[in-house]
Amino acid sequence: MKAKDLLGRRGEELAAEYLESLGMLIVERNWRCPDGEIDIVALDGDALVIAEVKTRRSLAYGHPFEAVGSDKLARLHRLGSAWCRDHELRMPLRRVDVIAVLDDGVCVPTLEHLKGVG
């Protein structure tokens, strides 16, 4: 496994732990379909949460949030619908969260969480 994939892996791990600590229930991780991948699917009370995790070593190439553009956001919403169809579930309350993880491998990683974007 390449270093950058390892970093992403570790970030997703951290994000999942964090969401659980908020009282959410992790339903599925790394769900794939032809249109793309959802990092984390979770339940926050009645609401289905589609979570995208972005991990960076430093801010040298911009903040992780800046890597989530309008195209990616639209795809996350589409993937949310696709996940519901796939699991034959009706989830009227559905939202997309973005989690940014900064992890330089030395200090304690920092984590930022945006709820219900786009």
């Binding site: 903040h63 949030f65 800046e66 989530v68 956001l73 973005v98 945006l114 709820k115 974007v117 786009g118």
Partner: protein
Amino acid sequence: MALGRTYSVALVGLNGYIVEVEADIGQTLPAFVILGLPDASLNEAKERIRSAAHNSGIPLSRRKITANLIPASLPKRGSGFDLAIAMATLRAADDIRATGRTVFIAELGLDGQLRPVRGMLPAVMSAVQAGYTDVVVAQANAAEAALVPGARVRGYKTLARLAFDFGADPQELALDFEPDDEPAGDDSEAVGVAAPDMCDVSGQGDARRALEVAAAGAHHLLLTGPPGAGKTMLAERLPGLLPDLGDTEAMEVTAIHSLCQLRSSSLQLVRRPPFENPHHTATSAAIIGGGSGLPRPGAASRAHRGILFLDEAPEYERRVLDALRQPLESGELVIHRSAGTAAYPARFQLVLAANPCPCGKASGKGVECTCTPTMRRRYLARMSGPLLDRVDIQLQVDRVSLADFGQSGGEEDTATVGGRVLAARARQLERLRPLGMETNSQVPGRVLRGDLRLVPATTRILDHSLERGVLTARGYDRVLRLAWTLADLGSRDQPDANDIGQALSLRQVASAAA
């Protein structure tokens, strides 16, 4: 604190409006939105502000920034809002303390430098009038902004310095960045070139006299004559004869020049009457003002309180010449464009120069002239009657004779003639101020034949001409105006028959062409 509030100024023509800038930081993905009718250059502010803040050591928030410019219905253009938006955004992120009623006007460079903008003087004037006296501008604009009475101006070179003074954390700021001073541009140049002097003109006694009268009474002037007679040379010497501008006038003139200059470097008020000399291919937008979006001032407004010199006047498009009739009447130009209406002052003294015919040789006996009589008549008729109607002095200038040309020297210089002009202006002001006027050229015929009526013995020659139909009623008034100026120059309380005779002789072309 997720909301920051600062103030700036939007200029519409010479009128400025206070613009309130709100910045809000929303908890969502990074974006930068500017609301409130920004134009393209204002929309580019996003990138300038982001880079400037980053390079100053206080990067903007990594969230959605919404900047709102109030009132939203007023179209806003240009880069002068950069600083106000940046400060509002920094305040929203709690990087600096609240800025109160301070007005910010400056463009930002990517390195965090504060850059000067055009129209600083009218912007600060409007801010002070609206009760916003604290103004923060770029260092290069500070001297100009400080010309406004009652303004408390602070000039800064960098965003980091400014943020520091508003309580930003000095640990993070890039305070050691010191951009070089702007090279002092136009000012040194203006000092170096000496204004043309009257003593350079050899001979041309009539024309010199006409110039003096034009300066003293602020009369519009038409010079016709063959090429090489010195029409341009004479016209260029007129501004030197005019008195210095008063405080209010100087402010008006400086404000217009501040709008027109790209590199704003007016460190002091413009005290000398301006001289505008557009080329005869100029369009009406260039002379009157215009351009896309919000109209900018043209040559006529830049000549406000000074001289607008149209060389080769018949070569101008007739439309352009006739467009000057409105400002000649009202002293103001109102221009309508898609983005709004702008009113610029344009109270100028018009000086027209023309050849007598297309080939230019129809002076004196005109034996060398190759033009047909029709061509000749058409040529001067391009200057329309209503326009020439407003030109009090119409003088024929002939080529200087060898005798006059040989003995140069001994001619009066600008300072001597200017002294007489100044005295004549003072006499006019004393007489006309109770009537609400300043110069003889402004006096309407009603007053000339009413309050300022002369005894019939003096005006006999005029009355006679009117009776015989040599002179029109309008021409009659113009001669009276000139006669008053001649009397003022001669320190007489009223024009005498001699003044009337001289005044008649200053209208040679009118009798020949009109």
